[in-house]
């Protein structure tokens, strides 16, 4: 992580960038948060470790409007989001100096807690320099160890690969963490009976408290004024009054990002209620791949997005599947 800080300081000093966008420690040792650093001194708070899951692309929308260039550190999966925002003219390539940082898989503190570990004080073994195979966790009830690969974020198990699609420089190596199929969960749900599916999603979506964290963190879901906040559709809803609105918000959100979602998994990571929101987006991605050919959002700026393109031989909506 230290090389990142020194490189950032050089770029700040020689004026190529006027600010640095990275992470700094949160109130606890395992929840770093995105932060801007204007000066070299401030960079001492900079941190990059196994817990820095946040995708910084979305912040670049506002950063592009500021004076001068911004240095931004993008993990491989974050770079797809930046590319997608570039395709939609939301970020300015000239205003961004991108360093593609390596990633050894990001950790999920909820997964650690699920292992029955409470009262966490410090966690060691999550640094980029570590081997990232075991974590030593010191808690008020004594020290505990847990395997790195058991407590990663669910998105890391079906990691999209370790190449950055857009960068000015690349630093630090990555570790391939993909072990599961990307659509295994979706296929598992598809095999359920309609009643089971309905129960599954009712159980999940009934937990939704409409805190809009998923919307606020999603790079693809960054309208100036969301349709659920404006009077364009008479669908302005601050809270889910009835169960329908719980479904509706997530279906429409998934539909709006369909063909644009880079499957960065941020929505599921930030959801305070732990709802697996990526299941919606992955369902659309799976359908798009199956019906209209494989498409990875954010991979190629000039590619035709599936929902703003068509073929004469597309299938009919009521056609039986498979």
């Amino acid at each position: 992580m230290q090389e990142l800080v020194t490189r950032a300081k050089e770029l700040l000093k020689d004026g190529t960038v006027t600010r640095v966008l990275g992470w700094k420690n949160g109130d606890l040792s395992y929840n770093p948060e995105p932060a801007f650093f204007e000066t070299e001194e401030a960079l001492s708070d900079f941190v990059y470790n196994g817990f820095c899951g946040a995708n910084l692309s979305k912040y670049m929308i506002e950063a592009s409007k500021k004076e001068g260039k911004t240095l931004v550190f993008l993990k491989p999966c974050d770079s797809y989001s930046f590319n997608q925002l570039l395709k939609e003219h939301r970020v300015d390539r000239e205003k961004a100096y991108i360093i593609g940082v390596g990633c050894k898989g990001k950790l999920d503190i909820e997964a650690i807690k699920k292992q029955g570990i409470k009262g966490i004080e410090t966690i060691k073994g999550a640094e980029m320099t570590d081997a990232c195979d075991t974590l030593e966790i010191s808690t008020i009830y004594g020290d505990k160890t847990v395997s790195y690969d058991d407590v990663m974020l669910s998105r890391c198990y079906s990691c999209k690969g370790k190449e950055h699609v857009i960068f000015d420089e690349q630093m630090l190596e990555s570790r391939d963490t993909a072990t599961k199929g990307r659509f295994d969960e979706v296929e598992a749900i598809e095999k359920m009976s309609p009643e089971e599916k309905f129960e599954f999603f009712r159980k999940e979506l009934s937990k939704c408290i409409r805190c809009n964290a998923c919307r606020n963190v999603c790079p693809a879901c960054s309208c100036r004024k969301c349709v659920f906040d404006s009077n364009k559709f008479d669908s302005a809803q601050k809270a889910n009054v009835d169960t329908f609105q719980e479904n509706m918000f997530h279906i429409i959100r998934a539909f709006h990002v369909a063909g644009r979602c880079t499957d960065c998994g941020e929505c599921s990571r930030v959801c305070p209620q732990g709802i697996p929101l990526h299941l919606f987006n992955r369902k659309f991605i799976k359908d798009i791949n199956e019906f209209y050919g494989d498409y990875v959002a954010g991979e190629d700026i000039d590619a035709e997005a599936p929902l703003t393109h068509f073929e004469f031989t597309d299938r009919e909506p009521n056609e039986e599947r498979g």
Binding site: E88, R224, V227, K232, F233
Partner: protein, 662 residues
């Protein structure tokens, strides 16, 4: 809140028979925003429209809902009435309680309940209507006619006589179309060429008409008043300017084996050919598949013998792009394939021919130089049999379900001409019904029967079987004498069904003109607008719209021309104001909408915007309302709802959905 007037029409009894109009009026009075409701037997009548005028004045109405027939019928009428009353015409909504309600439901209570719901939806929509001003778009004073048959020629001449430029695009090497293949025409028995060639010459000589032969339409973009068309002028391999039409090349050309399409493949032609003597332009075309020079590189005889040096093997296809205000489709027809009708042995015996082939046989320029003879052995026939409705009026999927309309008349014509020229030939016609309506048509048919002794037998032919002695055994039934007839015939002529030219479907897709399953172009209204396509600026002339004979084709060609002239005469066209409109403060500038716009009406602009105090330049979508046709594709790809469609806004449709599901 709007002040809305609801007018419920009885439509005589069409609506009032199954919808309790009084109850609908009563229910509408209770709707929010409705301050006046009344019913009237005929809202579309002058008196009915006066009701609207008076109500608007008396109750200061700001919106009008008319519960009546389909908006496709009288929306324009009621909008004009509102306009006369000083109301913006787009503050009028129609609830279709006839075609979508009273005509299809029997139970009064149920139909009334539905009528109320439909009316309520219309009121909900008009509540959110905003006054719209129709825009204007320019008109290119030039017309395009696709197809160079009698329909295309007549339309082109009529438009050109009105002083407008016209381009004819004809696929074959010469204009003239199907009519040029006919020998005589009914009911006057004029020689077809004698009445057609003068028209062809007139079209060719007309300074306002420009003819592209051996050419096809490749691409059409734009819309009424402003079409941009790419015409592909296929390479003739002959330079039209130099060629004098002497015809030496056709005589000397060694490759004589290719089938002569003009004579329906009954004889052959040389590789370099003009379809028929009176071809216009009289410039031959090299059939590159048959030409030895193109196939093997040797030969080149035509180049050597051509004194005018007009042969040019290196000629390539040429794409010409032109702008047009109106497009007339005149693509004509062909006879159907008879492969599914093996009971008539058309493919087994050369003496079983279609009527069009008989036209060529009887034509002096035809394969038999006008002598009526059997194609198998060249002998003159003694017994001739005509079979009507071959492939027509068949609801099995082998043939066409419609009646081809012209066969009864041309068969009577053939029978009469044969009996007149060869009195010793017996002619028998097997028919289901002889359909010869119209002026002098039935008299023409009766002359064939009474003066020329043509033997008409009511009953279809079940089978035609070639016999060892070269004759044809015709097995038919005589329903009037209840007999089965077994007749040995020398020649059998099939009155084959006709279908539109195959390439019309491609043209319809390019013009977005609607087309039915039989490949006939659909007219805007079968009775009231027969020569216009629902797509504005596209007109239909001739058989491409439906089976018809030459008199009707010429009449309809004239009508299509007048419609086109009516359009070209205007300097400005009022455009549909229901176009897309972006909300500057909400637009993300993400150009999703531009990707789906079929008309390229959306562009982007970096604009200084004051968003509640935040002043910044943003990338904002701009809609060119002259190009936008109001399809609404962009409004759905726009996630934030910034792009909305005037006249069909998101909130309006949501209001209609709410009103229906309440």
């Amino acid at each position: 809140m709007q002040r809305i007037g609801v007018f419920v029409c009885h439509c005589g009894s069409n609506i009032a028979a199954t919808v309790d109009v009084k109850k609908v009026v009563e229910m509408m009075k209770k709707e929010p925003g409705v301050c006046h409701a009344e019913d009237y037997p005929y809202m579309c009548s002058e008196a009915g429209q006066m009701k609207i005028l008076e109500a608007v004045k008396e109750h200061h109405l700001t919106g009008v809902v008319v519960c009546s027939c389909s908006p496709r019928m009288h929306e324009a009428t009621f909008r004009k009435a509102a306009e006369r009353a000083g109301l913006n015409p787009y503050m009028v909504e129609i609830a279709n309680i006839r075609e979508h309600c009273s005509w299809i439901h029997k139970d009064m209570e149920e139909a009334t309940e539905k009528a109320v719901i439909l009316a309520r939806a219309a009121v909900a929509k008009v509540n959110l209507n905003t006054p719209l001003q129709a825009g204007e778009s320019r008109v290119t004073k030039r017309a395009l006619v696709i197809g160079g048959g009698i329909a295309g020629i007549q339309t082109a001449i009529d438009i050109a006589d009105a002083g407008y430029e016209v381009d004819i695009v004809e696929k074959t090497p010469s204009i003239g179309g199907r009519m040029s293949q006919l020998d005589k025409t009914f009911p006057t028995l004029d020689c077809s060429a004698c009445i057609l060639t003068p028209k062809m010459v007139e079209a060719a000589a007309h300074e306002k008409i420009n003819i592209y032969t051996y050419s096809e339409v490749d691409k059409v973009t734009g819309f009424v008043g402003d079409f941009t068309v790419d015409i592909r002028k296929k390479a003739r391999s002959v330079n039209s300017d130099k060629c004098t039409g002497c015809g030496v090349c056709q005589e000397k050309c060694p490759s004589k084996k290719s089938l002569n399409e003009f004579n329906r493949g009954l004889n052959t032609r040389s590789a370099i050919y003009t379809p028929f003597a009176q071809a216009i332009p009289n410039v031959p075309v090299i059939d590159r598949d048959a030409c030895i020079k193109f196939k093997t590189g040797k030969c080149g005889v035509c180049e050597k013998v051509c004194q005018a040096g007009a042969i040019d093997y290196a000629q390539q296809d040429e794409i010409i792009t032109e702008k047009y205000g109106a497009i007339v489709v005149a693509t004509g027809f062909d006879t159907i394939k008879l492969d599914n009708y093996d009971e008539y042995a058309y493919n087994q015996s050369k003496d079983v021919i279609t009527s069009l082939e008989l036209e060529r046989i009887m034509n002096a320029a035809g394969p038999t130089k006008g002598h009526l003879e059997r194609l198998s052995d060249g002998k003159a026939p003694k017994e001739m049999v005509f079979i009507q409705c071959v492939g027509s009026r068949c609801s099995d999927n082998r043939g066409k379900s419609y009646c081809s309309k012209i066969c009864c008349m041309y068969t009577a014509k053939h029978a009469m001409l044969i009996r007149d020229k060869y009195p010793d030939v017996n002619v028998t016609v097997f028919y289901i019904d002889v359909r010869t309506p119209g002026k002098n048509f039935d008299e023409f048919y009766r002359r064939a029967v009474e003066e020329y002794g043509v033997n008409y037998v009511k009953g279809q032919v079940g089978k035609v079987a070639p016999l060892p002695n070269g004759k044809l055994l015709v097995q038919g039934s005589d329903l009037l004498d209840n007999k089965q007839i077994l007749k040995e015939a020398d020649m059998v002529v099939l009155a084959t069904a006709i279908e539109p030219e195959a390439s019309v479907r491609k043209i319809a897709t390019m013009l977005t003109a609607s087309i039915d399953t039989n490949n006939f172009l659909t007219e805007a209204h079968p009775k009231l607008r027969p020569v216009e396509s629902p797509t504005a600026g596209v007109f239909l002339s001739g058989v491409c719209q439906g089976p018809k004979d030459i008199p009707e084709t010429v009449a309809q060609a004239g009508a299509a021309a007048v419609k086109a002239i009516g359009l070209l005469a205007k300097d400005k066209l009022t455009t549909n104001p229901c176009t897309a409109k972006p909300d500057e403060l909400l637009c993300n500038g993400c150009s999703q909408c531009a990707n789906v716009c079929p008309y390229g009406a959306i562009t982007y602009l970096d604009k200084e915007v004051n968003d509640h105090g935040i002043r910044e330049t943003r990338r904002i979508a701009q809609v060119n309302s002259a190009l936008c046709q109001g399809c609404g594709a962009c409004t759905v790809t726009c996630p934030s709802g910034a792009m909305d469609l005037q006249g069909f806004s998101n909130r309006q449709i949501i209001a209609e959905v709410d009103a229906i599901c309440r």
